[in-house]
Each structure stands twice: as C-alpha cells, then as structure tokens.
Amino acid sequence: MSITTEELQIVPVGTWTLDPIHSSIGFEVAYMGGTFRGDFNDVDGRLADGRLEGSARVASVQVKDENLEAHLQSPDFFDAERHPVLRFESSDIEREGDEVTVRGEIEIKGVTRPVELKGTIGAPTPKGEGEVLAVNLETVIDRTNFGVNWNMPLPDGKPALSNDVELTATLFLNREA
C-alpha cells in the first residue's frame, strides 16, 4: 500500500485502537533531586474521526515498590477508590510533517482541565492484515491543579516532590483490516 504526501499531512482516517501491550502511558516527576517514573499498565485508547481519546486505570499504576503503588492510589495522590480512571480526549489535532500537537482535556482525580500535548506521529506501517500507527506525546502539568497536593519538606526545607509532572504517552494504534 502506498502512502501519499498528502495523507501524511493529516491524521489518518479510520478507527485506530490502542495496542495496550506495546503502548505505555506514564509520568515523570522530580523527586528528591532525581526523577521518579511510573507507568499505568491498564490503558485504553482510540483514534477515530480525527479525535484521540485515552484512559488509564489508576489501580494499574506501576512503580518499583508496592507500598508506593498503594500510596499513589490513596487519597494523598490519585484516590483510586473515588477516581479510578484518568482520561484524555482531544478537541484538536494539528500535524506538521512528523510533528503533532494535540489539544484537549485531561481528567485527573475528578478534575478536568485543558492540556496541550506535543510529540511525533509516524506513518502507518503494515502489520499483518492491518496497519499500526505510532504516536508519541508528552506534556507537563501542575499536579496541584488537579488536587494532587501531597508533599513533604526535605531537611533543607525544600519540597520533596515537584508540582510539575511530565506525562508521557507512547501509543501504538492498530487499524484492523
């Protein structure tokens, strides 16, 4: 199948469903002078009619310590009991070559706010009978805007955890044949 230049300038048509195995949705936050990373294992998403939407289950958060996973799910952080799902839905997608800007709204801990994600988008690649599309997106949010306020002062008085959190999404989207 050939792909014309014109087709590359827009978001591919059709319905593309997130491949949750190869995709990863996670976060990075400055913590005690370093960077702390986490991922959500249970994610869902689709690109259809020029609209990108996705979700991640808070209970599936994965970091390298189960006690920390429990704390992240607690009311101190995401409050998985009351707000079990993080959501994103685009309102506007702009593409220039391989670069893409996705604007929309993100919902964290029951708070929905506008957000702009930037990244790259590949060309659809044949996979079996269908195709796969790779999209990489990231943005930085202030977690306190979503009520995720936990912190702890370090011995020097500075906060242990940054308010700015980088959200990263490496998405592989499949179009069925």
């Binding site: 189960e66 996973e69 429990a70 704390h71 799910q73 607690s74 009311p75 101190d76 009991e81 936990w150």
Partner: protein, 205 residues
Amino acid sequence: MKLLAISGSLRRDSHNTKLLRTAEELVPAVMEFQVWDRLKEIPPYDEEDDVQPAPPAVAAFRAAIAEADAILISTPEYNFSIPGQLKNAIDWASRPHATNVLRNKPVAVIGASTGAFGAVWSQAELRKVLGATGARVVDADVALGHAHTKFGENGELLDEAARDQLAEVVVTLLAETPAPQLANADLLGEQAREARSVAGNVVAA
C-alpha cells in the same frame, strides 16, 4: 454502622477521651460509637512479631478499624508531636501497607491539650501519618486549648464554640462515609444537624 473513636491519651481522666465522649452525643443514633480504650495493650511494633496470628490487642485493633465505617481520633501533643502509643498503634494497623485496614477509611483528627494551641502540631503530624497509610483524612478539626478548663465536673464540654466545631467535624466525617444509612440528613444527630444548619447560614451570608 460504626464510628470508631480513638483517644491518643491513656489517662483515665483524659481530656481527649472526654472530647470523644462529647462527639458521641453528636453522631446519629443509627451509628454505633465505639471508644477504643486498649491502646496500652498494644505492644511496641516489632516486625518479627508482625506475623499471623497478630498479638491479640493488635488483631482486635485491626478488626475494630476494619469493621468501622469511619474513625475519629483525638490526640494530645507530646513534645509537639504524636504520643508514642498512638503512633505505635497506627504503625501496627498500617501493616501490611498495600492492604492495610486504614486504606480509604474516612478519618477525622481532633485534639486537646492543656496548652494554648490544642495539639495543632500533633494533629498535623497525625494527618500526615494517616495519609501515608492510605486513609481518607477529612479536612476538619477541633483544637481544644486549655483543655483542663473546658470540661465540667461530669466531663461535659463547657466551650460552646468548640462543641459547634466538633459537630462540624462529625458532619464532615459522616459526609465522607459511604454508608447508605447516612444518605438521609434526618438521621444525623440533632446537634450535628444544627451545626450544619449554622454552617450553611454562614455560607449563605
């Protein structure tokens, strides 16, 4: 339905226990109000002892928390912080961390002290500790300073403002408690209902 009340003070004539007894008058009749008075029996935390079966007082404490729909803790302040026996009990209850009985449990913290500030620093540290356990710490407080002057001969709270604050704490705590029996505001205690009405009027004003 049960509200578990924990006094951080072991003393028989404890101001914090009296404060909890005042709270008992403010909760709806449909709620069982259990004051936990066995903190002294809980041994010092030792991971080597943190096995099944747990020490009897620890097992009972964990069960009481697990069975409670909400928890109200009244703490004194020792050296600007949480009394050791209360922190020790919470440390026991918080294990194993990922599945501990305090997770998502609505908890309100109040406090009384003979000093001017009503255990505010101890309360702040206790809220931090409870947050770390995964408890749902509600945003409400009573800081009863000069507590030795605030109760009558029969343990009744003489400070009306503090009583109103306590009623607000109860209302706030119960609002966070996912119990269908509490969905109807008429089930709230008379005092709490009045306090909520007053709070509503303040907001309206």
